[in-house]
Structures are given as C-alpha cells and as structure tokens.
C-alpha cells in the first residue's frame, strides 16, 4: 500500500517534469498546425523535423555549437578550480570575513549581469578578451562561482575531518589530502557544480551576446533571434538548446551518486 502511494508519487513527479518537455517537443516537431490548433492534440499527429533541419542548416550554427561547448567546458573547469578551494576554506576554517566573502561572491548573482553590459564589454575590450571564447567562459565562471563555492563548501562540511586527519598523518600534504580524500568524497557536490556550471554557461545568453560579435555561442546565436521568430521556430530552438544540457546531465548523473551508501562513518 505504502509502496504503491510512493510509486504513484514518483510517477506524478516524473510526469510533472516530463510532460511540459513533451509538449515543447510536440510544438517544436508537430508542424505549425499544432501550434495554433484548438483543442490541442496531445499525440504527435505529424512529426516533422523540418524546423529542426532548417536550424541545423543555418550558416554558422556548427561553429557556434563548438564554441558553446568550449565555453561551457572552460567554465566548468574554471569554476571548480576556483570554487572548490574557496569552498574548502569556508567549510574548514572559521576566518574573519568568511561571511563577507560569501556575500561578495553572491554579488555576481545578486546583481543582474545584463545591467552591466556596457562597462563589462569595455573592460573585456581592455583585457583583450572581447569576442573570444575565453572571455565568455570567464564571465560565465563568475556566474557559476557562487554555485561552485557554496555547493562544494556545504559538502565539505559533511566530510568528517578525521578522514582528512588520517590522510595527513599518513603523509599527505594539505593539497594531497584534499585531492585524494575530500574531493572524491565530495564528488556528488563536484558533479552538481559541474552540471550547474555547464548549464549556466550553456543557457547564458546575455553576457555571451554582449561580449561577442562574430564569435557567438550557440545560445547567443539562437536565442537572441528566437524572440522574433515564429512561435514554432521558437519552440524548436528551445528544444534544440535543451538537448546538450540534458545529455550532459545524463552523462554525469552517476557521479552525483558517487557516495550513495558508502559514506557512513
């Protein structure tokens, strides 16, 4: 009985997340009749990959896709490399200014980047990273950093200090202990951070379009124009942009469970 209620709950929650995506796909692939039909059909009547295909035929879409990948991967690396040590500092040391630091890194999220457009662009021109993948990756890192820092720090807090101490005693330097003990144990958090960084970077459109002219990321390339496109193209574009993130999450999902059932003391 309980099990059944539980199962139903699971199914409802899955449906709740999946159905909207399904409807999006239905709109994107169902031909323009579906988009404007009434009452709307819930089954795919006539699948058509036409609007999809037309996307993929657009000049510059593949370089943009590659660039997006490059940016997202860089962003992932940067945010973990910069965020995890800071997260460790927050978790393990009580230092003056820890909370100030927390607030400070959150500023990047608390202040809408969109509003920073002009000075941001000018700064990037001065730094010589305007219109480069690196530049975009860096600003995306700034956006993902609060995630990296806070998520890893909350996980590090859950790792018994004794394990680290054991590593020290057995000859690990602080860094080695961090790498060999803390980081693997916090793997789910690191994976979550990687996902956040990837997704943030992949979907970020504002900074990407302000900081690039010719070398736009896929999202900037598509999203900036989607709003003026016919509804069906918007749906198709939306769907197309979901895919890489979803595939990425799928690929790393098992790291999210790395410590499942192992981490008892």
């Amino acid at each position: 009985m309980k099990r059944a209620v539980f199962g139903v709950g699971l199914i409802i929650l899955c449906a709740w997340t999946i159905v909207p995506i399904y409807l999006l796909a239905l709109g994107a692939l169902g031909g323009s009749d579906v988009v404007y039909a009434w009452p709307k059909p819930f089954l795919p009547l006539a699948w058509s990959a036409r609007s999809f295909a037309s996307f993929l035929a657009i000049e510059g879409i593949w370089p943009a896709m590659l660039r997006s990948m490059e940016v997202a991967v860089l962003c992932m690396i940067f945010s973990i490399a910069l965020g995890a040590p800071a997260g460790y500092a927050l978790a393990r040391f009580a230092f003056r200014g820890a909370n100030t630091y927390r607030l400070l890194i959150l500023v990047t999220r608390a202040f809408p980047v969109g509003i920073l457009a002009l000075p941001l662009a000018v700064t990037y021109v001065r730094l010589g990273i305007y219109d480069t993948a690196l530049g975009v990756a860096l600003i995306h890192t700034a956006l993902a950093l609060p995630f990296a820092v806070l998520v890893t720090s909350s996980l590090f807090l859950g790792i018994p200090r004794e394990l680290e101490e054991a590593a020290w005693v057995f000859g690990c330097s602080g860094i080695a202990a961090f790498r060999r003990i803390v980081l693997p144990l916090a793997l789910p958090g690191v994976a979550a951070t990687a996902i956040f960084a990837f997704v943030i970077s992949w979907n970020e459109v504002f900074a990407a379009s302000v900081l690039t002219v010719r070398h736009k990321t896929l999202t900037a390339f598509l999203l900036s124009v989607l709003s003026e496109s016919p509804l069906q193209a918007q749906l198709a574009g939306g769907l197309l942009l979901i895919l890489p993130s979803v595939i990425f999450i799928f690929a790393v999902r098992r790291y999210l469970f790395a410590m499942w059932g192992i981490a008892s003391r």
Binding site: E165, V169, G171
Partner: protein, 348 residues
C-alpha cells in the same frame, strides 16, 4: 633515532583543561602504553603528538627535533584513530596501501606490505571490499593494517583492538609485539585493556585527569602503584584499600599487627590486591557477600573492617555468600598509602 619527548604540554579546550602539564619520554624503539580512565586525555595527547591538535603550551620532540610547529605529514609517524577513520571511498586494499603510496613506495613493495599487514590482521579476504561492507571489528583491523603497512618509525595507536574478540585480540597482540619489536618501532599505545598494556608495554604511563600519575614498567605499576588511583585503576579486579588507624606507628587488622613505613600519624591506607589475600586460620574477618566463579579463580566480594573488599581465591575452595572467612595479606605485596594525599609511602 625516533624517540618521543613530550615536554610540559598543556591543552585547553575553552575553559576545560584537558591536559595539565604533561611530560613524557618514549625511548627509541620503546613500547609505551597509555592507560587511564575514559576522558582523561589520552586521545588528546596522541593527537598533539601527531600534530592534529595544537598544544596550548609545551613542546613535542621526535628524534630530538622539535616538531611542535611541523604539520602532521612532516612528523614521520603513523596513527591509528580511535574511531578508525578508514576512507569510505577506498577499498580495503587502497586503504592499507594509502600510507605507502604517500611515501611513493615502489609498487611491488606496496603490494607486499599490503599483503603482509592484511594477513597479520586476518583481513586478506576482505581486500576488495569497501569499508561499508565490513563489520566493526573488521574495520578496526583495516585501520591497524593501514598504520602498520607504512612501517613507521613512530606509531601512535588509539585503542587499536577495542572492537575485537578476546581470541583475536590475543593473536593480534602477539603479532603486534613481534612486528613492532623487530622493526624497532617507537610506539605510544592507548588502551583500556590492562592485560594488553601489561603484556605489550615496556613501560606503562597511567594518566588521570590530564596528568601522568605514574610511568614505570608494568610490574612496578602493578606492584608499586604510586597513588591510590593507580592501584585502584590498574589490575582487574582492582586493588583493595582499607583505611586504618595508626597507633604508635602500628596498624592492627584483625589479629594482625603491621608496621607502615615511617612518619605516619592518624590513619593510613593499606592497599592489597585481591590475589594477595589468602584464606588463613589467623587473620582478619571478611564477610562474603558475592562469590563469582570466574574460571581461573573465584572472586569474592564482601566487607572487612566495614570497608568493601574483593578477594580472589583458587577455584577449588568452596566459599559461600554470607559466610565469614579469615584472610591474611601477603606482607611483601602490601602497598601503604598516605590517607590524605593518596600517595604511596616511601621506604617500605
């Protein structure tokens, strides 16, 4: 040379003083057991030696070098943690190999050492399991194996065998002793098992409330406790203490008259171990309340001179609860203590 010298170390946790001026020397290759009641500061002391805790004051020297300011890894020691601290994300094999890998040992040396320590700890069948798949005792043995595998110059062990059954403990104890002696490892070993301490240690340091109250070879600690506390703490069952009045330098106990060491007035404490009391024709009266047959001997609990007392008698003597028997102490094994300070009286 890897002697440990703990020099006037104090440790304060907030208002609570966990270690009060501890000084202790462990000679190179020596095996010192730390014995003391729960919460007396044993773990804290070990952690300070390992560099995991910072002493409030005092110094720690290893091999003559002041390591007080060195990080743990630079102190060249291995430690076994009271709650094991085995790495949950590594297999048993990886756990045991860990220390050696940190030392960048050659692969074949690692695998040899891992095999050896694992065999010694009887966990060779478990090498590919994860700690979560082990029983408590197995986990503890993994921790011991991990510490032994590195063959450290200095080994700190915090109750390494507490979760093992008696038989296994006996075996491990013997093997530990052999291995450590052979390697000449300087060992500081916390245990609450006195037999272990007695059997393994070159010297025993008895701790009490953050102080070391006696440090001596096992027999001396057993035979010549420096304080009432040590006598009461070491030995199982513990030493009996009878507070007796002193009259003109003499003490009367039933039919017996004894002479405590000089300079005593008022009253004195007579300490005698349960096994140092014999049934006798002529002695003092002991009212038996409980008689427990414990295998090699029968343990009697009862009262003498209105004070609680325990006596161990050979298993073949039939004594019943409620009976009153006559006892006499083996005079050579009597310990006299000051009634006020609880310190042993000299010049026995």
């Amino acid at each position: 040379m890897a002697d440990i010298r703990i020099d006037a170390v104090r440790k304060q946790f907030g208002a609570m003083e966990a270690l009060k001026q501890i000084s202790l020397d462990v000679r190179d290759g020596e095996f010192v057991a730390l014995l003391g009641p729960s919460g007396c500061g044993k773990t804290t002391l070990l952690r300070i030696v390992a560099g995991l805790e910072t002493q409030t004051s005092g110094r720690v020297l290893i091999g003559g070098r002041d390591v007080s300011t060195l990080p743990p890894r630079a102190r060249g020691l291995a430690m076994l943690f009271q709650n094991y601290a085995v790495f949950p994300h590594m297999t048993v094999r990886q756990n045991v190999a860990f220390g050696l890998q940190m030392l960048k040992a050659a692969a074949d040396r690692i695998s040899r050492q891992v095999q050896r320590s694992a065999e010694m700890m009887h966990i060779e069948d478990l090498l590919d399991r994860y700690p979560a798949q082990l029983s408590g005792g197995q986990r503890q043995r993994v921790a011991v194996a991990r510490a032994l595998a590195v063959e450290p110059a200095v080994l700190l062990m915090d109750e390494p065998l507490s979760n093992l059954d008696a038989l296994l403990r006996l075996q491990m104890r013997a093997e530990l002793k052999a291995v450590l002696a052979e390697a000449g490892t300087t060992t500081l070993y916390v245990t609450h098992d006195q037999t272990e301490a007695m059997g393994l240690a070159d010297r025993i340091a008895v701790m009490h409330e953050g102080r070391i109250v006696q440090m001596a070879p096992p027999v001396e600690v057993y035979r010549k406790p420096r304080t009432v506390f040590v006598g009461g703490f070491v030995g199982n069952p513990p030493m009996n203490f009878l507070k007796l009045p002193v009259n003109a330098g003499e003490v009367r106990l039933g039919a017996l008259t004894m002479t405590p060491p000089n300079r005593v007035n008022g009253s004195v404490v007579l300490g005698v171990r349960p096994e140092d009391l014999e049934l006798a024709e002529c002695g003092f009266g002991f009212r038996v309340q409980v008689a427990e047959p414990l295998g090699p001997h029968i343990l009697l609990t009862g009262e003498a001179e209105g004070q609680r007392m325990r006596v161990a008698i050979p298993p073949d003597r039939a004594v019943r609860a409620g009976e009153t028997v006559m006892l006499r102490p083996k005079l050579a094994h009597i310990a006299w203590m000051d009634a006020e300070s609880g310190l042993a009286l000299e010049g026995e």
